[in-house]
Subunit: 269 residues, 2 copies
């Protein structure tokens, strides 16, 4: 009954020699959810032995290139692999237009599988999927274009407490989300900058490691994962140190790392 | 006075765990030419320590996704790096439309540098660039959509023989090119299939390793590099064996390998 989040990358708009664009795969009891799809996502999936065919749902936080430029290639590869299962895409308005352009541009008559778009609109916490193993909710973040965070709540399992994962990128610190994701077991939150560059963070509507840690603390999260690091920093260890001052149970979501959320049994008292 | 060709990948339409999409960087005496730009090209360039800023000219053989899906991200990264030098793009008709769509879709007002398109049209061998260190020629290949091969001829250097490199992908074996690239020092030629699948090669207008070797032999090439391998083959050593039966000086252009064309001095007889 695994619940794991695997990092495919931790870079922001500019990749580095080590870091791919930020994207993650969430495995909830054998159902796979892809979170964002920047350039190279399909390459990283293959390197990590995650089958493209296993991905059923793709959640796109926003339409900046570093979160979507891998989609045309991913879809093309799924087609070449003769996929037949539907692919569900959840994204702010506009994604369908981009993929329609590609489809027309490629001269491809038809994909081997249906692509089903779910446009994310509205304020507050909205359920967008009732899956077999989880319910998924979207909520607004605070960035330069419409951006959604996602909350995954495991469906009940006998004798164990349902687990939850939240995914928040890109965003300035947004205190109202702490209510929506309150008590989340695993929180991925962007930390594009260090506190020394808090003015850049404010200017570009991103967060610092310290701000991400404060959100985790205020939300009562179990564990915090940081990613989406600006390429201006030569190494990422300072993000960890800065966040742990506020929220000790923090890790860096660097490529290839997998984080498990263990089952917690309900005591029969 | 180096002349080198570096492989960024050797996969065809579907990447594998080891292999990126086929793309190469040609360095002619310090001037850098990018040949094709599939998804992940900018990631591979960084991994190989090739500065994005060094790329002046990009040559696109044809508009199939595995040769162009890396362009939007490459251009976006160049912009974020505050590039000012023009970027020259040589491609069959249609590329500008794709990049214009992206530019509009991204909401970006203007790039930090000019992109200059050179549309490749016409039959036979056509000079498309008179560069500082080389002249570049395009010629038609035989594929399912308009596709160009490229020939790079080094400009004369005192006391040494000008060197040349040809780049031919994707294409069915096309005997007429042997005249245009006659005597080329280094020939990259696609070998999507092995001879055992020659019917698939014919169906999809690709070449086998054996056919590529025959082209190299007929053209009097110095060395043959093979790439663009179909993901159906678990390993690529069979391509080498098959080609070497016809053309012994063959190598596999797998990711990260760099091939030098040494200077040959003109004897003062």
């Amino acid at each position: 009954m695994p619940l794991t989040l695997t990092s495919l990358g931790c870079a922001s708009a500019l990749p580095t020699k080590e870091n791919y664009f930020t994207a993650h795969v969430l495995n909830i009891r054998g159902r796979f959810f892809l979170l964002d799809c920047g350039e190279g996502t399909q390459l990283r999936l293959r390197q990590l032995d995650i089958s493209l065919g296993s991905i059923e749902h793709v959640f796109i936080t926003h339409l900046h290139g570093d979160h979507i430029y891998g989609l045309p290639g991913l879809i093309s590869s799924m087609h070449l692999l003769d996929r037949t299962a539907p692919l569900y895409l959840y994204a702010p308005k506009g994604l369908e237009k981009m993929l329609s352009f590609y489809s027309e541009f490629s001269g491809r008559q038809e994909l081997s599988f249906p692509v089903i778009y779910r446009e994310i609109t509205g304020a507050g916490l909205i359920q967008i999927l009732e899956g077999e193993t989880a319910r998924v909710y979207a909520f607004p973040l605070n960035h330069s274009i419409p951006t959604s965070g996602f909350l995954f709540r495991e469906k009940s399992v006998r004798k164990s407490k349902p687990r939850s994962v939240a995914y928040c990128t890109d965003t300035a610190p947004s205190p109202e989300i702490t209510e929506w994701i309150g008590g989340v077991d695993l929180l991925f939150h962007e930390a594009t900058f260090l506190e020394q560059d808090v003015r850049s963070a404010a200017q570009y509507l991103h967060s610092t490691a310290r701000q991400a840690a404060q959100i985790a603390l205020d939300a009562g999260a179990g564990k915090l994962l940081l990613g989406h690091f600006s390429s201006r920093y030569k190494e990422t260890s300072a993000f960890l140190a800065e966040a742990r001052e506020i929220f000790p149970n923090t890790e860096l979501s660097t490529e290839g790392r997998t984080f498990s959320v263990p089952r917690r049994f309900i005591s029969a008292t």
